[in-house]
């Protein structure tokens, strides 16, 4: 019995500065699922997350993406967020002069406004911050600092998952959340993601390494190469990749392309 479809991507093509990166992506994600997207450098993994979240640096050339039954590609990035789409950035941006607290309160209240809810009270907000910080062991001091400013690599990634916990997205895209993390930080971040997992939300995990998938167990693994999803399988596909590397994939699909 299949669960409800959350995201449905069909024939998605996208380019940056006139260069085509995504060359026809098909991807269906249902509630409760975890999808891993793997692939060599430059295959289009980060572009896919940028296009889905509406980064204005990228141009959609063809295809469709339906999220919660709505046309995702027509929505402003902020409305995609309000609809429940969240991106944990590969490189979280430092915003000097904007405190984490103000940033988070603005984000949360804009979402509540979008959903027709009253703004959160100051005391409830602080309580929520405290509660969600615990998910990833985020230091209280970091919350009073400027967004990501002077955070270590691990703190930045923890901060991403903290924001995810605050906003409770229905679909979270984790873009190389494991990069730059030591083993302890990796465990904390992955456990944080698992705590937030429910039957009604879904996760896309973009990664180079099988290691992260030991912690966040995927239902499906997709291999993205040269802007296309070339293979889809179960968790064992990641193990095969870890063992054999991308060379075989490259050989196989480079030859196919030449034929």
């Amino acid at each position: 019995m299949d669960k409800e479809i959350l995201l449905d991507v069909k024939g998605l093509r996208a380019s940056v500065a006139g260069k085509e990166i995504l060359k026809g992506i098909d991807l269906t994600i249902r509630k409760g699922e975890v999808h891993a997207i793997m692939g060599p450098n430059g295959s289009g993994k980060s572009t896919l997350s940028a296009v889905l979240t509406g980064n204005p640096a990228f141009t959609v050339d063809a295809g469709s993406a339906t999220f919660n039954g709505k046309n995702l590609l027509e929505m402003a990035p902020e409305n995609r967020a309000h609809e429940g789409l969240f991106l944990s950035f590969q490189y979280p941006v430092e915003i000097p002069g904007v405190s984490m607290t103000n940033f988070m309160r603005a984000a949360l209240n804009e979402k509540r406004k979008y959903l027709g809810q009253e703004p959160i009270s100051a005391s409830d907000f602080l309580k929520l911050m405290r509660q969600k910080r615990a998910v990833v062991d985020l230091d209280n001091k970091l919350a009073s600092r400027s967004v990501n400013e002077g955070f270590s690599g691990g703190e930045k990634k923890r901060n991403e998952i903290f924001q995810m916990a605050m906003l409770e997205p229905s679909l979270a895209i984790l873009d190389e959340t494991d990069s730059g993390l030591d083993i302890d930080a990796l465990r904390i971040v992955a456990e944080g993601v698992n705590k937030l997992k429910t039957d009604d939300n879904a996760t896309i995990v973009i990664t180079h390494y099988q290691r992260l998938l030991d912690y966040i167990r995927p239902d499906y693994v997709h291999i993205l190469y040269k802007g296309r999803i070339v293979e889809t399988g179960g968790p064992q596909l990641a193990l095969v990749l870890e063992e054999k590397g991308y060379d075989e994939i490259k050989r196989k699909y480079d030859n196919n392309a030449a034929e």
Binding site: E78, A81, G97, F103, E110
Partner: protein, 438 residues
């Protein structure tokens, strides 16, 4: 001379106003300053001043008094802050009654009977000297370091297009501390206003001054403002200049370090939009040893607004062990906004630490997208980033009620465009409500 056509005609039309040797000398000195343009004022700000002069303003040649409007004055009060309040309606100063034994003395003189020299330095002060008929004189006795706070509310309110001329002379006694707030505003009529202002301040040995120069007027108001400040030994000067809403405005801040060991900081912040033209020029003259100066000007320009910054640090040969810094950072928030910046450092001895720099850019696109991905709409995100950009200028304000007031003014000004609801806001709303009720 072509920049000042209207006023030239005025000079011809009202010969009785310009009678007498003093006026003749002032007009002569003004013409000379225009022709010589020694400080490059006309070259840099001439076109902005020409714009200011376009309307055919009325000038109060007969010395008619503008009455005090208490409601308008109260509206500009700052919560938790009770200064001596002087209100200037157009060109009429209304001073409070102060007991004669107080350390603070305020008086309004006719220019003809002013017991001190009526100086002029740059083009705006030469120009002001011709037309200003009254001079506000403030003196603070030296000898103890109690804080004195004086707020001058400059209000433009008239039934016609009007040019107003104001002149202020301040003397701060040795060791005295003064907080001086100049708050410029206009009524909400569509009339064109022009304000010429010259403020001359003397700091005696060990005196300190925090000067707040706030322009919060209207698109139809022009302002040509010059401030000359002279410091003796061991003085401390802090200037905070805010052009929150100023149709066309030029400020000159000219500071002389006359004796050793003094310090001056100028923090300036400009928000421009529409077709506003806002300029600032600084002349920091290190004429003595061990002086420290620090300038930090930030501009945020939107729409087709134009900003100009000219900053000059002059370190004379005698001014050894000087430390002088200057920074001008600008954000152009729209493709039609323009900034012209000219940081200047002129050093005539070897024993100094100096630096200057200017940067101009747009809001960080990566930060904007990051905020939008978290659900913060673009307009709000832009405003939050702009606020963050100027945060350090506001944090540098020493007095807490004024810092809050400035932060509120800036936020109110920035959020004017983003129609942001109150829910995310951390402004002191009781202040705003109090403001809007009156």
């Amino acid at each position: 001379m072509s920049h000042f056509k209207q006023f030239t005609r005025l000079i011809e039309d009202y010969p009785q106003f310009f009678n007498g040797d003093r006026k003749a000398a002032e007009i002569e000195s003004f013409s000379q300053s225009l022709l010589a343009d020694d400080d490059g004022f006309i070259r840099r700000f001439g076109s902005a001043v020409a714009e200011m002069m376009k309307p055919d303003y009325g000038v109060n040649v007969n010395g008619v008094t503008s009455p005090l409007m208490p409601a308008a004055a109260i509206r500009r009060n700052i919560p938790d802050f009770a200064p001596i309040t002087i209100t200037c309606v157009n060109d009429t100063y209304h001073i409070p009654h102060l007991s004669t034994d107080q350390r603070v003395k305020c008086a309004v003189y006719d220019a003809d009977n002013f017991p001190f020299p009526i100086n002029a330095y740059h083009t705006p002060s030469h120009f002001n000297r011709i037309f200003a008929n009254k001079i506000l004189h403030i003196s603070i006795d030296g000898g103890n370091n109690d804080e004195t706070a004086i707020q001058i509310n400059n209000i433009l309110a008239a039934a016609v297009d009007l040019a107003a001329f104001r002149r202020v002379f301040v003397e701060i006694g040795g060791g005295a501390n003064l907080e001086l707030i100049l708050n410029d505003s206009s009524d909400s009529t569509p009339h064109n206003y022009f304000a010429s202002q010259f403020v001359e301040i003397f700091l005696n040995e060990g005196a300190s001054l925090n000067l707040y120069d706030i322009t919060d007027t209207s698109d139809t108001t022009s302002r040509l403002n010059e401030m000359k400040i002279k410091m003796k030994r061991n003085c401390r000067l802090n200037i905070f200049s805010l052009s929150a809403s100023a149709g066309k405005s030029v400020n000159i801040y000219d500071i002389d370090f006359e004796s050793d060991n003094s310090e001056a900081t100028i923090n300036g912040f400009v928000v421009g939009d529409g077709n506003q033209r806002i300029g600032n020029a600084t002349f920091v003259n290190h004429l003595s040893r061990h002086g420290k100066s620090n300038q930090n000007f930030k501009y945020v320009l939107d729409d087709a607004s134009h900003g100009t910054f000219y900053g000059e640090i002059f370190v004379w040969e005698v001014a050894r062990f000087t430390e002088a810094y200057q920074s001008n950072r600008n954000i152009l928030a729209s493709p039609d906004a323009r900034i012209s910046t000219e940081p200047q450092l002129l050093i005539y001895n070897d024993d100094v630490k100096c630096s200057h720099g200017a940067t101009t850019g747009q809001l960080d696109a990566a930060a904007l997208f990051y905020m939008r991905q978290r659900g913060i709409p673009e307009a709000v995100a832009r405003t939050m980033l702009t606020q963050a950009f100027v945060g350090d200028v506001i944090d540098a304000i020493p007095l807490l009620p004024l810092r809050d007031r400035m932060r509120m003014l800036v936020e109110k000004r920035l959020y004017k465009r983003s129609s942001r609801p109150c829910d995310n806001c951390r402004m002191a709303c009781d202040t705003i409500n109090r403001d809007s009720k009156e």
